[in-house]
């Protein structure tokens, strides 16, 4: 696989643009899961502009790397990212959440160009990723499958079923990225249902674990993805990336209220100004 030659600075600029697009899309949509979309934005940009072997002009090319947004409610980050990458015009995002739109709160693979998997119900994506990786190996395909999970999602028991299977079947073609922003709808993950020692859980399940102290720092994001792509173990790789929910917008950062919310034009202007300063 040939990673694209894109600089960290360029990726940072693209992440800024994606964050603005997320704000704009949330305004068009009326409301959205904006907090988790902002925390995941840097990984989404790095994957789609540097690491994933994909071609927006050929969505179904058989050897493409697959991406599954297991935290499907971050579609308001994922779908604008697909648009930014060139799968469809940004103008189409104006329909987001509206009647008959292909784009809603959770991504639909039969309607969203470039979307490999419909998601939304938490705890499903990693199992589907396991199936894709098993299928790829059986058919001697070398593509990778990347699954992005939320940390709150890791309360779901099915995540651990999939973790077990990925190690058992030695799925070194599987990369899980956990957007560890520390918040879920009802509060801090450690208050609602404690996940720590979280990275140790993945290690105990036999995964090759990469811990990232700042998953909103593009250099660290790229370093972790380089490491994941160069996985020379026979184990699946998990990137546990500490991020900030609502990253980039002063009034949203690390505030559980911004798991889901509406943005008026005044708030949007503040957000754009904040993002510009990143």
């Amino acid at each position: 696989m040939v990673k694209k030659d894109v600089t960290v600075d360029k990726l940072k600029e693209l992440a800024k643009q994606l964050r603005k697009d997320i704000i704009q899309t949330t305004v068009w949509a009326g409301s959205g899961h904006v907090g988790g979309a902002m925390s995941a934005a840097d990984y989404l940009v790095a994957l789609y502009f540097k690491y994933l072997n994909i071609n927006p002009k050929d969505c179904n090319k058989p050897d493409r790397d697959r991406f599954i947004l297991s935290k499907g409610h971050s579609a308001v980050g994922y779908i604008p990212c697909l648009s930014l990458r060139g799968y469809f015009e940004k103008d189409k995002l104006k329909t987001f959440n509206h009647f008959m739109s292909p784009f809603g709160m959770h991504p639909d693979s039969l309607k969203v160009p470039g979307c490999d998997c419909s998601t939304g119900s938490l705890g499903h994506g990693l199992s589907i990723g396991v199936g894709l990786c098993l299928g790829a190996k059986l058919q001697k395909q070398t593509y990778k499958t990347v699954v992005m999970l939320g940390d709150g999602e890791c309360c779901e028991g099915s995540v651990y079923e999939a973790m077990m299977a990925a190690k058992h079947y030695k799925l070194d073609n599987l990369i899980a990225i956990v957007d560890r922003n520390g918040l879920m709808i009802d509060g801090r993950t450690e208050d609602v249902m404690s996940l720590e020692p979280f990275a140790d859980k993945w290690r105990a399940f036999g995964w090759n674990v990469i811990e990232v102290s700042d998953g909103n720092d593009m250099q660290q994001v790229c370093d972790s993805l380089d490491q994941a792509w160069n996985n020379d173990t026979s184990l699946p790789t998990a990137i546990i990336a500490k991020t900030v929910k609502g990253k980039g917008v002063s009034y949203m950062e690390d505030d559980v209220k911004w798991h889901y919310g509406a943005i008026d034009s005044e708030k949007a202007e503040i957000a754009y100004a904040d993002i510009e300063k990143l």
Partner: protein, 341 residues
């Protein structure tokens, strides 16, 4: 046994329908199909042996994935395998397929219209001694409510074999419901019609029609023969092996010609075959005497299957009794039938 040409183009003579369980025939047919179709893979959750998907797995170990006792993962993995371009056959007990892994079946498989073939065994009350935790009298209600899903209940092993072949022609998810043990076969050779979505009249009659599936087919035909000999009644029996899409024409024809309809199913009478038939009758606008036999919104008891079938009136004696009851029922005569149908 006569050699037959399957809908998928494979030809074989791999089993004796008179001596094998439906599960065993499933495993053998899948193994034979897999010899000529390398897209077929198997997935199970620690039930390779119990569901007999292991017969395929033994011949093709690289294409058989056992995820352990983890049914949510089972159906998620099946969805992923399908997304990679394969045709997964996923087998577990019916109760776990529709309930423990039900959301994955709905959201991962049906919502994305993926070609996952779910062959669920130990359905209904066929695992008699195991009780309600392992019985499944809700699966038809659940599976038929999922868009894109085709739902099939074969009458016996031979028909299971045909259903397993035919489901390859459906470009989407299919649910095939199989019992546990060696239920006596209805078909004694493979010379019978089987088309998904088409009910079959397996016993002609004009006084009353029994619409049934699964084990009910053989028992209803035995009952129909007895009713003819003892009571002089002419009872039609329809093998409605496809619950969804339901064959509306054969139901309306039966209403028109016999005016008395009984449904027999190894399932809760809420949500299963009976309700599908009732909806077709109601939409036709025609009145008839109508009775649904099955579990009457109750959890099943423990016991040997034959005792349970007898208790729930799913055996030939119980079915004959139900027919005699319905023959005494009144229904509104409709003089304009010919004009409206």
């Amino acid at each position: 046994m006569a050699e037959k040409k399957s809908t998928t183009g494979t030809t074989w003579n791999c089993y004796d329908a008179n001596t094998m369980s439906a599960r065993e025939i499933y495993g053998r047919v899948l193994r034979e199909m897999a010899k000529t179709n390398d897209k077929i893979v198997g997935v199970t959750a620690d039930l390779e042996k119990s569901t007999n998907i292991g017969i395929f797995g033994k011949e093709f170990p690289d294409r058989m994935f056992n995820v352990g006792i983890a049914e949510q993962n089972l159906f998620g993995v099946a969805a992923g395998l399908a997304k990679s371009g394969l045709i997964p056959f996923a087998s577990t007990f019916a109760v776990f397929a529709c309930l423990r892994g039900g959301e994955q079946v709905r959201t991962d498989i049906c919502y994305q219209n993926l070609p996952v073939k779910i062959i669920a065994t130990h359905a209904g009350i066929s695992f008699g001694q195991a009780g309600s935790t392992h019985h499944c009298t809700e699966d038809l209600a659940i599976m038929k409510s999922f868009p894109n899903m085709t739902v099939i209940v074969p009458a016996d092993g031979a028909e299971t074999g045909r259903a397993v072949e035919a489901c390859m022609d459906i470009d989407g998810p299919v649910y095939i419901r199989v019992g546990r043990g060696f239920e006596p076969p209805f078909h004694h050779d493979q010379n019978f019609n089987f088309e998904i979505g088409k009910g079959e009249i397996v016993h002609e009659g004009s006084d009353c029609t029994i619409i049934t599936c699964g084990i009910g087919v053989l028992q209803s035909v035995i009952a129909a023969k007895e009713l003819k000999n003892v009571d002089g009644l002419s009872v039609r029996v329809i093998n409605m092996h496809t619950i969804k899409p339901i064959d509306k024409d054969i139901i309306v024809q039966a209403v028109k010609e016999t005016r008395r309809i009984i449904t027999i199913e190894e399932h809760n009478t809420i949500g299963g075959l009976g309700d599908s038939v009732a909806a077709v009758i109601a939409e036709s606008g025609k009145g008839c005497a109508f009775t649904k036999i099955g579990l009457q919104d109750e959890f099943s008891m423990v016991g040997y299957p034959e005792d349970l079938y007898s208790h729930y009136k799913l055996d030939s004696n119980g079915i004959a009794e139900t027919v005699r009851e319905i023959m005494g029922k009144e229904f509104e005569e409709d003089e304009d039938w010919e004009d409206e149908v």
